[in-house]
């Protein structure tokens, strides 16, 4: 009977495609919006992702996310170095700086100051030049997005394409001369400002004069050291907050989840996909059942139990669910892959697939439940009515 149930559905081509479309739409929207959401959220901690050196990030206790720097006094670096279990600790400056453009306009940039001797915390990947070139006078590395767009020079005539920054070009950062010695690429972050990397000591001379300039201390633990205990020890000895990279990412994501409208916006898109998918699927599936009510009644009269009919309907619902989910999630993945080189944030994770798969199961159950109610309530005697 179950085989026939599937045939009944598949051979009703119009209804079948309609139902599958509903499920496809829902799983496509949920998967795609979910992945963009996760992609965007991952951008919030792109900087942390790129710096794979530190086991532990040390910072002011009030820091809520990666871009929320609360500078420390330089002496804190030495305090951290003194904590047992810390193999090495290097400073990281992270702040905003204004770059003056040829045309006299200013562009805000993120400035990173890396430990002078180790250059730890450097950009994700060098496209041109070497990280070590930062040891040359006035040198900076600019990320490729900034170099080709916001920091690029204007064309010769108005309307000409912008001329990207290249090695040897100079920039004016907060009235200091800087020479580009490399172009880098990092994970996209939530911020659209260009990223500029230089040494810690040069960064603090570029930066607006402030009493405290140390943003983070990046710690490498002794081999075999338990990170949780080390974290606790650092906090105890220095009074600073200490997080593993993953914890810091989570802190950052949670901040954005809590204080921005992003989750709500995506929540709305995802719910809309769910609701529209449910409506289309539910309606089409229900009308499929109604169309077949005469035959379901006939089957009932001929001796099909309610349980069997229920299982048949459930099987029909789940099979369109699987097909629709396969197409929808597949299309979302293809979409994500085809958008790979663009600005779009897209990160499909198994959690998203579980989420949209779960949504599809719920959609199918709702659709089936509507139909099952109708069929269970059906008097088999109706079969004799013309």
């Amino acid at each position: 009977m179950y085989f026939l149930a599937l045939k009944m559905l598949f051979n009703d081509k119009a209804k079948f495609f309609g139902i599958v479309m509903g499920v496809t739409l829902a799983s496509l929207v949920i998967t795609q919006q979910g992945s963009i959401f996760v992609g965007l959220m991952a951008r919030t901690f792109g900087v942390i992702t790129d710096m794979n050196y530190p086991d532990i990030w040390v910072m002011d206790r009030k820091v809520q996310f990666i871009d929320d720097t609360k500078p420390l006094t330089d002496t804190k670096l030495f305090e951290v170095r003194g904590v047992p279990g810390v193999a090495s600790a290097v400073p990281l400056y992270k702040g905003m700086i204004r770059a003056r453009m040829d045309n006299g306009l200013f562009q805000n940039c993120n400035l990173y100051g890396l430990d002078d001797s180790t250059l730890i915390g450097g950009p994700g990947e060098m496209i041109e030049g070497n990280l070590a070139d930062l040891r040359m006078a006035d040198s900076v590395i600019v990320d490729v997005e900034g170099a080709t767009d916001k920091l690029a020079r204007a064309g010769k005539k108005p309307g000409d394409p912008k001329i990207p920054l290249k090695i040897g070009d100079t920039l004016e950062l907060n009235d200091h001369r800087a020479v580009v010695v490399g172009i880098s690429r990092g994970s996209r972050t939530f911020q659209s400002q260009p990223n500029i990397f230089t040494t810690y000591s040069r960064a603090v001379t570029f930066a607006p004069k402030e009493r405290k300039l140390l943003s983070f201390v990046l710690v490498k633990a002794e081999p075999g050291e338990n990170l949780e205990t080390l974290r606790a020890r650092i906090t105890e000895r220095t009074g600073l907050a200490a997080y593993t990279a993953d914890q810091f990412k989570l802190l950052t994501v949670n901040y954005f989840l809590k204080y921005t409208g992003i989750p709500i916006n995506f929540g709305i898109a995802v719910s809309l996909g769910f609701i529209i998918g449910t409506l289309i699927t539910g309606f089409m599936f229900y009308s499929f059942t109604i169309d077949n009510l005469k035959y379901l009644g006939t089957l009932k009269a001929m001796g099909t139990s309610d349980t069997t009919l229920m299982m048949m309907i459930l099987l029909q619902a789940l099979s369109v669910g699987c097909i629709g989910f396969g197409i929808g999630a597949g299309a979302a993945t293809v979409f994500g892959i085809s958008m790979g080189g663009t600005q779009l944030a897209f990160w499909i994770t198994w959690q998203i697939l579980v989420l949209s798969g779960g949504a599809v199961v719920i959609i199918c159950m709702l659709a089936a439940m509507l139909s099952v109610r109708k069929v269970v309530a059906l008097e088999p005697a109706v079969v004799f009515k013309g």
Binding site: M1, Y295, T298, L299, M302, G303, T304, E379, F384, K385
Partner: protein
Amino acid sequence: MTTAVPTQLGEADTLGGGGRKLAVRCRNVVKNYGTGTSVVRALRGIDLDVYEGELLMLVGPSGCGKTTLISVIAGVLDRDQGECTVFGQDFSAMNSRQRTRFRGQTIGFVFQSFNLIPTLTIAENVSVPLLLNGVNRHAALKKAKEMLDVVGLGQRVQDTPNRLSGGQQQRVAIARALVHDPRLIVCDEPTSALDHETGHKIVELLKGVAMSGNRSLVVVTHDNRIFDFADRIAHMDDGQVDKIVGSAKELYGPNMQSAQSGGGHS
């Protein structure tokens, strides 16, 4: 062929008046639709026996309760009062699972509008009662094809119902009603969607194929041209069986010809 069949109601539980075994025994069956002032008294105390191996036709004016009665007999509708047993079994003494099972094993259905599932092939349609009785799909299809052969559609097994004529579809329905070898077949107006000639052939087929062993047939019909196929005819009026006769002549008297052309009982 009808003379030996008793026309009086039998008293015994399983044996009719003539010593023949009873397939269906109804006593004082009452069925009302609705409640209060809008109540429709569809069956007002039906007494009826159907013997094993007979073809009983149920006739009478529209709305007299024929469909209601075979629905009760076939166990798809609950009666309000009275007794009704099918091969000694009472549907109202069974739970819904047992009832469904008993229907699936014991009763074959033929409907006025065929009720074949349009998205399945006719062989698959015919295999349904076998599948419901636990036969595996392969064997069920094989048996279904054999049955379709019997009704003369062996060449069309892969067709869907809508590619067949009405008469052919009703043949499929008959194959479906017979394929699992049920002991009782109920047919509600099996010929009324067909032209007279086709209808005649269908009843001929029903009588020829279905009446084997001691299988019983209850056929509800308006179509007095097929009355001759009946072993007995039960006439209903206003929710009661008022006459049980051995032939159409007895029903309409010697002027049967005029009764037929007048269509007084349809």
